[in-house]
Amino acid sequence: MEPNREGFTKFLRIGETLYLLLSILSFYLLLLSRTWEAHTVWEILHPAFIPTLCAATALLLTILPTSEKVTHKLLFVIVHSVLIHSFFSIVFPAGDNSGQQMYLGRIRLVYDNAVLHGWPPWPLESIAFQVYQWFRGINFQAALSVVFARMFSMDILWVHLFLVPVLWGVFTPIAVFLVTKTLSKNDTVAVLASLLLSAFPYATYFGAISTHNSLGYIFFFYALYFMLKNLDSNDSKTKFLMLAFSFLSLLSHYLTGIISFSLLFLTVAFKSYRAQKTSSLTARTSLAIPFILCTSLLPFSFIYLRFFRSGTHVAFTLSRFYELPFKEIVGLFLIGELTYYFDLEAIILMIIGPLLALLYIAYRLHKMRKTSSADFRTPFSFLFVAFLMILVDYRILKLLMEGLPIRAERLWVLRDFIAVPFAALAIYTAFSSLRAFLRAKSLPSITFSSLKSIFKPLSRRTFSQTKRSIINLSNHLFIALLFSLNLILPLLLAGWITVSLSVAYPQVAPLQTTNYELEAVKYIEENTQEKYVVVGDIWTIYAGERIVGLNNPRAYYFGELEKTGIDLFTNMKSDPSPEWMLLAMNYTDTTTAYFIVTEPRLGSEEFQSVISRALNNQQISVVGVFGAGKLYVFGYGKGEGV
């Protein structure tokens, strides 16, 4: 090995070891930040965490362009990816209150064999409704979580909390790498793209919460990769994998499934377009019509959802054009929901990635007119059309439809995923061009004598010497710029990725499920032999969902929006008496009832008032006090007090 090369390898190993140490330290700091009572991750993160993470990211970015093996680089990116998607699962006692606790409430019933034939446990009006429910992602996520929980012999809470952060952290960077590699045929750009996905806030957020929609995104990413691969091959395995991932994407969530199948049809259209081998108007029309059809698939699927799901009333509308001011419509068209954001930094962080991708696409399209190989053109055009399709779909959902069962912004994750390879290419192209420019300017290389001449007194110089000195000085400047560029770029990108986390993880949130709420629910579960019902607010229900599940006949917690549960809690608050508890028991066919009140949820004044009224009532008794008096559990049994 050459001495220079050997020195570089040693330097690289030191850098890699340092990166791994910083990553371990980041995990440790995240663990130290774990708290029992918090609203957002930001209020309790260890002060050294963000600087450590930023330093680790910058170090990783300096490793990525080196000659290190791609597999090693990808493993480093995976460590980084798992780290930044685990904030909620590591810091909060039971993950974020963002919907994932509701899914856990349903999945736990499957884990406890309390439901048969999947969710929902109640009979449905028609066979179409039943089939739709089977294909809803909750059943697929339940199956996956229960299989893992049983394999590892762990409680489903832990498996559920880490299911998506780990799967996303491991498989998403690989998917981005594969897609970018297919597009650019360049390993360095592909690895850069795999890390750059972390700079897209919406994608980071969905990788941090355990919902079936997140699983759908993962499968969509791979479906997209195999579609790209299929464009240039007729391999039956690729076709099978493309279909399998699209189907699994549909099984996980219909949004990702419908988009997967739309792109699948687009792939077929692309292949037939290529087979025609002409760029005539007819051939182009044969591509435009499928594009319109594929783009309309998602909006129409929402319209026809009413045949499979009761209470869905999605419709096309022009009401926004009549009701909203023109400025707002333009804002919605350009940046969507972000038009209502007040924080300019958040808006910039949300749009900078896709904007970079759009700029690169425009630049590339301009260049492609002159020179481009067919190899590059097909995947590029397909991804560009897919990107365009999602942009159009988002605007249709946002401006022309009402009554949607989900937020249209979920399409941003798909948009971001397609934008990442282009954004990475944009950065790489800009950086390479700048470096090439500086290198060209800084030549010829500096010699000792030329260096000496710079410092020679001006009076002793000839005109040619002075000219040479000026050239040398500019050489120095360009070399310094070149050197700084190699340092500045990793720092800039690391800064971008780290700052993006401030938008990805909410800055404002309600109090997350606390440790004492979980303790109370566990205490009831462990100390009650007979069937019981718990009357509490929605936060108590969230805690209950995590430990015993929702509507569990043995340990009953009412649904989050179930009117009976809400009414019973309201009545218990104003009149804590056995009357309501008996009613709850009769309604749920149980023999014991509990009533839970929590100070931070009710507010001190109301909490004290409810507690004093409940304590004055001799018929119901205090079963437990948790969180140093912040949570009271009252109980009552059929026939007598508990």
């Binding site: 597999t71 048969l116 059943n139 697929f140 996956l144 299989v147 394999m151 012999s153 499968f219 399998a244």
Partner: protein, 128 residues
């Protein structure tokens, strides 16, 4: 270099699967997982056994579907396929009836069998 040779060697040993040795090991692992779930309930044993289950069957599927990729991508993509398969067969069990310990064990057996058969099919196709 050592790692690459190690992974390549393990992969070669597993995919050759002479006399279905690794398929049998996979079934023994399922038995251990079942026993652990029914008796010991040790997460350490569960994680260890599952790691071997994932390794063997992930390599089987990686070999069957991603032969042209490098060893690293074969393993990663094989693992993803295995997870998909576990999810899909588990989902079938959930909607048909439920996913209690017995049916869960059946899911593991079905997935291990599919993985082994896929590997066998590719092996016989290649004449190895």
């Amino acid at each position: 270099m050592k790692t690459r040779l190690g992974l390549g060697k393990v992969e070669q040993e597993i995919t050759h699967d002479e006399k279905l040795l690794f398929t049998l090991i996979s079934y023994v692992i399922i038995l251990i997982i079942f026993a652990n779930l029914s008796g010991f309930q040790s997460p350490v044993l569960g994680l260890l056994a599952s790691a071997f289950y994932f390794l063997i069957n992930g390599i089987f599927l990686g070999h069957a579907f991603f032969e042209k990729e490098t060893a690293f991508f074969r393993l990663i993509l094989g693992l993803l396929l295995l997870i998909m398969l576990l999810g899909f067969v588990g989902w079938l069990a959930v909607i048909i009836y439920n996913l209690d310990v017995i049916r869960f064990t059946l899911v593991l057996i079905i997935v291990a069998t599919i993985s082994s058969l896929s590997n066998k099919r590719v092996k016989s196709k290649n004449g190895a």
